[in-house]
Subunit: 275 residues, 2 copies
């Protein structure tokens, strides 16, 4: 029996996340082909490499073409086993590490499972604290800890504040609060009082009215809240406020969460710490 989808295998001595990211990035350039993916994580011994080899063989037998394997295996021995499997093997580490060793003038450490591993404790606690901070300071629920914030995101309801805050916390350990601009806030036309001492931390979000309506309707169909008129009005006021207060702002309409986060760093000039 043959599958029409091309089989893709991500293999790693750790979580497999880097292999997945790498492979996924490359395969977005071949969107016209159908793929089926399998991740084989924690291949951190010869035995596990042999099991992975067997799995590659099994996956290959189901399909009419050789599986494509994206590897972030660090060790030469495990990688050597996979390399001999009936597959096309793209080895991230084995392609680039020799170049880096030459350029840096030192040997690599050959540490397995390092990229998305536990790391140091302070780092881990900071990241968890950032997530807890984002939740505690979501949607204006808590305005007493704004002095701890790296950023405070502003925007009308459903403009993308919460997912962006959580993404920044999880990926970069950034302390990000968010404050909803209510109808009353925007109608008054002045910066809400709790935000006034923190102007330099503010980033505004904006979105196209039709898009906002679409998002709001998915949850609260046919209410005033999701009428196009209401969306237009709230957004017009919000944008006016950003301009008046010189708050940098981002249009989230056609942006992914990752793109909004990237823009926040670019707009504010704040350096991100890559986890």
């Amino acid at each position: 029996m043959s599958h029409s989808k091309r089989q893709i295998i991500f293999i790693s001595d750790g979580t497999g996340i880097t292999a997945e990211n790498l492979g996924h990035s490359l395969l977005t350039q071949f969107e016209h082909i159908s793929f089926e993916t399998t991740t084989i994580p924690y291949v951190d011994s010869v035995e596990k490499a042999q099991e992975a080899y067997a799995k590659i063989v099994a996956i290959g037998k189901k399909a009419d073409k050789k599986p494509i394997v994206f590897s972030t295996l660090v060790e030469a021995e495990t990688y050597g086993i996979i390399k001999k499997a009936p597959c096309v093997c793209l080895g991230l580490f084995h392609t680039f590490v020799p170049l880096l060793q030459k350029e840096l003038g030192v040997s690599s450490l050959n540490i397995i499972g390092n990229t998305h591993g536990f790391g140091d404790d302070d780092h881990y606690m900071h990241r968890i604290d950032a997530v807890n901070y984002a939740i505690a300071n979501d949607d204006g629920a808590n305005i007493h800890r704004y002095d701890e914030a790296d950023f405070i995101l502003l925007g009308v309801s459903r403009s993308g504040k919460t997912p962006t805050c959580l993404y920044l916390a999880l990926q970069f350990g950034v302390y990000c609060a968010n404050y909803p601009l209510t109808e009353e806030d925007v109608a008054e036309g002045i910066l809400p009082k709790p935000l006034q001492p923190y102007r330099e931390k503010l980033v505004g979000l904006i979105i196209e009215p039709a898009r906002l309506q679409h998002i709001r309707e998915a949850r609260h169909a046919n209410s005033r809240y999701c009428s196009i008129k209401q969306c237009q009005q709230e957004l017009r006021f919000a944008e006016k406020l950003y301009l008046q207060e010189a708050i940098p702002y981002i249009d989230t309409t056609k942006r992914s969460i990752e793109e909004i986060a990237t823009e926040i760093f670019a707009l504010t000039g704040k350096k991100k710490h890559i986890i």
Copy 2:
């Protein structure tokens, strides 16, 4: 003036996240060297490539060694400009895409900014919904939507439930609720009633008592809640419950959020959709 840190530049026609991941992964193998990183995102035109070129030159002048550039530029023209800059240039796409083209027997689409771009709307809405679901169903706050859950995480307070749920939502669009095992729950020794219809969705978290005490103490020092005795007792009961009810469970002690998420997929056999 010369810097002692080696300069690293991530360059991309999109967010730069893949370039950062790739570079960060590789550089974890050289932890004994100090790096300073700069990301240059959205290099999606010849003009921007020329600006990026100038930036590479400027960064190079501050240092005594050539910067190392990790590129995920897709287009040959922009990549060609960067390649000529005074740097060591590692091009992810230009290394692997020709191999993939040959293997897949088709040309790549040369789509820029694709990896972490907006993608399709359904996909975006699903991801946002998953984040909203995780927040609404955090910490047993809402037990009425468990039928929608992909997973329900169980664990005592501070065992890692919330960050894991949010990570699964953001990265994989997974609907993940979490339910705190209280002292009363675990003392009774029966599976809490709201969970009983959803046994096949349950995943337990466990953690070493000393680690739990450390995490709890960071927030509530000197309370009974964070005594070692209390932590030991809660965890003993929780583990007993998992064993008795045949709930698969994970020790989060020395695991990053990414590793916990990877284990959840491995334990349950549920396939992850890579975003």
